[in-house]
């Protein structure tokens, strides 16, 4: 995966304005226009529009993605970049096919989250914030994912994997290698769909059923 990143690198001189690109499909634009109607002003659709962009641009936001969002919503580029860089879930550089976000906040930390991180670093051969050479996994630490009762939690795409330990984490990795789901683009897609009224029956599917059934024993 190319390390090139047009938003976070730090040049010595200002760069020329990037080319404008248009990747929003007709369907995306329709979705965006639907979401815009939820609010009294277009600007409010900034976060949803960035999610759409993250989906359309393959799981991360490029400068063109930010321009496209700004142009659709009538905002300034700097403003949209400010929003995109504020929130941690907007990816400003390419991610692996699966983005492993290991919660290492308080409860998970005392229940072995760092062991999982070390195991993954060792097994995948990458450090925090890095992507494996095959582009399969990006490893991150996450702040509290708020499922402390099921510590340790690992978020992959749109799914929380619970009760992960350093022993069973490699099983998860094997499962993910085989899976087409839980990619950054699918996460963005799910979020966009959730925002559209009437989409309730279309999505969720097995993932959240599992989450319901698979919630930790003592919880039920």
């Amino acid at each position: 995966m190319s390390p090139s990143n047009n938003l976070t690198e730090r040049p010595r001189e200002p760069k020329p304005a990037p080319d404008r690109e248009r990747r929003f499909s007709a369907q995306s634009i329709a979705e965006l226009e639907e979401i815009v109607t939820h609010y009294p002003e277009r600007k409010a659709a900034c976060l949803p529009a960035l999610w759409i962009a993250q989906r359309e641009y393959g799981g991360y936001l490029t400068t063109s993605a930010i321009q496209e969002v700004a142009d659709y919503l009538g905002l300034s580029y700097a403003e949209v970049e400010g929003v995109a860089t504020f929130y941690t879930m907007y990816n400003l550089r390419p991610r692996g096919r699966h983005h492993l976000e290991v919660c290492t906040c308080l409860t998970c930390a005392v229940l072995g989250a760092y062991d999982i991180v070390h195991k993954l670093e060792h097994e995948l051969g990458v450090g925090i914030g890095q992507t494996t050479a095959d582009g399969e996994f990006t490893l991150s630490e996450a702040e509290c994912l708020n499922f402390c009762g099921a510590a340790t939690v690992v978020q992959v795409g749109d799914r929380y994997f619970t009760h992960i330990t350093s022993e069973n984490v490699m099983g998860l990795i094997d499962e993910l290698r085989r899976s087409e789901n839980y990619t950054p683009a699918k996460l963005a897609d799910a979020i966009v769909k959730i925002l559209i009224p009437g989409s309730g029956e279309s999505g969720g599917g097995s993932s959240d059923k599992e989450a319901l059934q698979g919630a930790p024993g003592p919880m039920l």
């Binding site: 010595r12 200002p14 009538g74 700097a78």
Partner: protein, 765 residues
């Protein structure tokens, strides 16, 4: 894009309130407007509250972030019990309310300020010795007065590359930034280009442009002055001087007709930088980049240093005696075949002496300062109908308008301060803006960004558009009652101008025309007209059509056609026009207009042409004619600072003083007479224009009783009725806006205007 922004009406920090409340600050009882913030309220009792991020002209939404202005606040309940708020409060956003008790100097607050400064400084590089801001830095000052003597921070500081060139004019040192959001708020609240924003968050947060591209703004220089630390610095001034080594002189920006008040900071007769000077009526405290960075020419080594005479095609430096000998000899033989062009960039005093020389000594009526297309009669165009020649409104009045129609103007370029006022009216005072022009613009900030209606019409179809707007106003019955007006003829002439017909002619969708017209029903409405219109062949007809609009909507005093050059207003006031003398008094004999002068020179009908501070070869609306004129005229004398293309073709060049080297007055577009002061010494062989005219007059045998610009101003005060009472003393710091003498109001009249579809444009001379 305006319809996307509901949040346009950010309230400014100090809402003027009728209601007064009694509050107590450090034991002193004081009455302040209800809702005034505590920093301003404390100033009334002479108490200073330190701050960084607060700025009265910026919206308060992002203020209160530096936490420097914390004060202790107690509130008084209706029953008289005083309750202290548990936490210290930011004074900059705290609205004064009845019975509030403020403490600003308690031991806890002293500690809080030390704490805030310590936190601000932990990541600050403390490289004050090599920082341009050192010596005039609020961070230094506040640390001196309120800060801790040492820091307990032993971890590593944030590091960023130094001196990142943010734009052509601004360098950015991220390490020094204290994240006060003044610059980001400026680009959003004031200039409107929204080029700067905060990126990332927490301790990693930084100010930046989109994707590290250049900071493109017409007003970028202001952020340098707004920055309370040395993070945003001027590229041109960087490492040039220490602030305490600079001498400062008050001045007026010479770049356009807005007349921004500026300060010239100079050292050893070299201009180092230009800063804005406060004038609430004109520029508040802003400058545009043209003004802030466009004055380097005054200290340019390219400046002409002596008079030059062209002998056999070669330039020869001559002394003034020789120059005058050549010039006077020439003038004496030319008789009345003499003409003068220019003056729009010279002071009132220069212009007065200029016209006096021509009218009284040379006996030639041929002088004109106009460079644009319209060179018709001076008084009949607007004055005879509206009672004024250019701007009906003062600049500051514009912000109190309900509706503003900007017609045919790239306002951010032509009239930057009018642009800022209009934007202020929109952003802070909920005004509605209608924008119409014959081309769209891609500038980072422009009126169309916030206009409620954007009408891009086909070039030349202004009158059709105005007819269409008026048609909607009449058919929808949106005009105020005015029984005195007979509208039958007008109605008949407008009946065909339905929105659909207007759409055919202008290319603007009929629905948009209807929407825009409806917006214009709200009074007061001011109209600002720009270059696209004034340079139009049928400009007089457009003015007539605009006249119908302002008359019918009851805004007869609100039409504004601001001039373009620093003193185009003053030159007209002083009578540098072929048909009127000083004070717009019609002259017995009408001379030639600029165009006629140039034509006659081009036809070798003119003996001597005197061009004063105008590069006609490049700047005249018909440059080709100007070149032929200068080439064909047997003797051309040019007053200029530089060897311009026009000067190069001339026969004699007289080097003149720049804005920084002479005293005098300029009259800006709203008729405000403002003083400029000599900042540094003239080179020995450079003279101000007025002195040249006076000395030539003397050598020609005329009266020469001027020994200073002040003498001329005194004479102007006596001879020009509008300038009566204007003396250096009455002008003071912020100048005086002259008014037309009160006369009988002119009867409102409607002038039906016929529209002719644009053909190939011809000069309307």
């Amino acid at each position: 894009m305006s319809d996307n922004r509901l949040t346009q009406t950010e309230q400014s920090l100090n809402l003027p309130s009728e209601k007064r409340v009694k509050i107590k600050i450090n034991g002193i009882q004081v009455e302040v407007p209800s809702g005034e913030n505590i920093i301003e309220a404390a100033r009334r009792v002479g108490t200073e509250i330190p701050f960084f991020c607060y700025h009265a002209r910026l919206s308060k939404g992002d203020a209160a972030n530096c936490r420097m202005c914390l004060v202790e606040v107690s509130t008084t309940a209706p029953d008289g019990t005083v309750r202290k708020m548990p936490k210290p409060q930011a004074a900059c956003t705290m609205p004064a309310a009845e019975g509030m008790v403020i403490e600003t100097e308690t031991p806890a607050l002293v500690k809080d300020r030390k704490g805030v400064l310590e936190l601000l400084l932990i990541n600050h590089p403390l490289d004050c010795p090599v920082c341009d801001r050192g010596g005039e830095c609020p961070l230094q000052n506040n640390t001196l007065f309120y800060g801790p003597p040492t820091s307990r921070y032993i971890e590593e500081k944030r590091h960023f590359p130094k001196a990142y060139p943010l734009s052509e004019f601004v360098v950015f040192d991220r390490e020094r930034c204290i994240h006060c959001a003044r610059c980001t708020r400026f680009t959003e609240d004031i200039s409107g280009d929204a080029q700067l924003g905060f990126l990332k968050r927490g301790a990693d947060m930084e100010v930046g442009t989109f994707a590290q591209t250049s900071f493109i703004s017409k007003f970028s220089g202001n952020v340098i002055e707004l920055c309370p630390v040395g993070a945003l610095l001027s590229r041109t001034y960087r490492f040039k001087a220490r602030p305490w080594d600079l001498l400062t002189q008050r001045s007026i920006c010479s770049q356009c007709s807005n007349g921004c008040n500026i300060k010239l900071d100079y050292r050893v007769n070299q201009l180092q930088r230009v800063n804005a000077r406060l004038n609430e009526a004109v520029n508040e405290e802003w400058t545009c980049d043209k003004g802030k960075f466009g004055h380097e020419y005054v200290s340019s080594p390219e400046r002409l240093q002596t008079p030059m005479h062209k002998r056999d095609g070669e330039w020869v430096a001559v002394d003034w005696t020789e120059a005058y000998r050549i010039l006077v000899g020439r003038l004496k033989t030319s008789g009345v075949s003499v003409a003068g062009i220019g003056g729009a960039k010279a002071t009132n005093e220069d212009n007065f002496a200029f016209q006096k020389l021509f009218r009284q000594v040379l006996r030639s009526p041929n002088l004109d300062h106009r460079m644009g297309r319209y060179q018709g009669p001076t008084n009949s165009l607007m004055h005879n109908r509206f009672g004024y020649h250019t701007m009906g409104n003062a600049i500051a009045d514009l912000e109190n308008m309900q509706t503003l129609l900007v017609l045919g103007a790239d306002l951010q370029d032509e009239q930057p301060m009018l642009f800022l006022r209009i934007r202020k009216a929109w952003r802070f005072k909920s005004a509605t803006v209608v924008y119409a022009n014959d081309h769209a613009t891609s500038e980072t900030t422009n009126v169309s960004d916030f206009a409620a209606a954007n009408l891009i019409y086909k070039p030349g179809s202004e009158i059709a558009l105005l007819h269409g707007l008026l048609n909607v106003l009449i058919t929808e019955n949106l005009l105020p009652e005015n029984p005195a007006l007979d509208l039958t003829a007008l109605k008949r002439s407008l009946v065909e101008w339905t929105p659909e017909r207007t759409e055919q002619e202008t290319g603007i969708p009929a629905s948009e025309i209807t929407v825009a017209a409806r917006l214009l029903q709200h009074s007061p409405t001011a109209i600002i007209v720009g270059k696209t219109v004034t340079e139009h062949a049928s400009y007089p007809d457009i003015v007539a059509a605009l006249g119908n609009l302002v008359t019918l909507t009851g805004n007869i005093g609100n039409l504004n056609v601001p001039g373009l050059e620093v003193n185009s207003q003053g030159a007209a006031d002083m009578g540098v026009l072929p048909d009127v003398g000083p004070g717009y008094v019609p002259t017995a004999e009408t001379g030639m207009s600029t165009h006629q002068i140039l034509e006659s020179a081009a036809d070798r009908m003119l003996q001597t042409l005197w061009i004063v501070g105008a590069d006609v070869v490049n700047d005249y609306c018909d440059p080709e004619l100007a070149r032929r004129a200068v080439e064909n005229c047997p003797f051309v004398v040019v007053n200029d600072l530089f060897m311009t293309d026009t000067a190069r073709l001339a026969d004699l060049i007289l080097p003149i003083a720049s804005v920084a080297e002479k005293d005098g007055t300029y009259t800006n577009c709203e008729r405000r007479v403002q003083r400029i002061y000599r900042a540094f010494d003239l080179a020995p062989d450079i003279k101000p224009d007025w002195l040249i005219f006076t000395e030539v007059a003397a050598q020609m045998g005329g009266e020469a009783n001027y020994f200073s610009a002040r003498d001329i101003l005194r004479d102007i005060g006596e001879k020009v009725p509008h300038y009566a009472g204007i003396t250096p003393k009455t002008l003071g710091e912020s100048g005086v806006r002259w008014n037309y003498p009160a006369t009988e109001p002119k009867p409102a009249a409607i002038v039906p205007v016929t529209y002719t579809a644009p053909v190939r444009e011809t000069l309307s001379v």
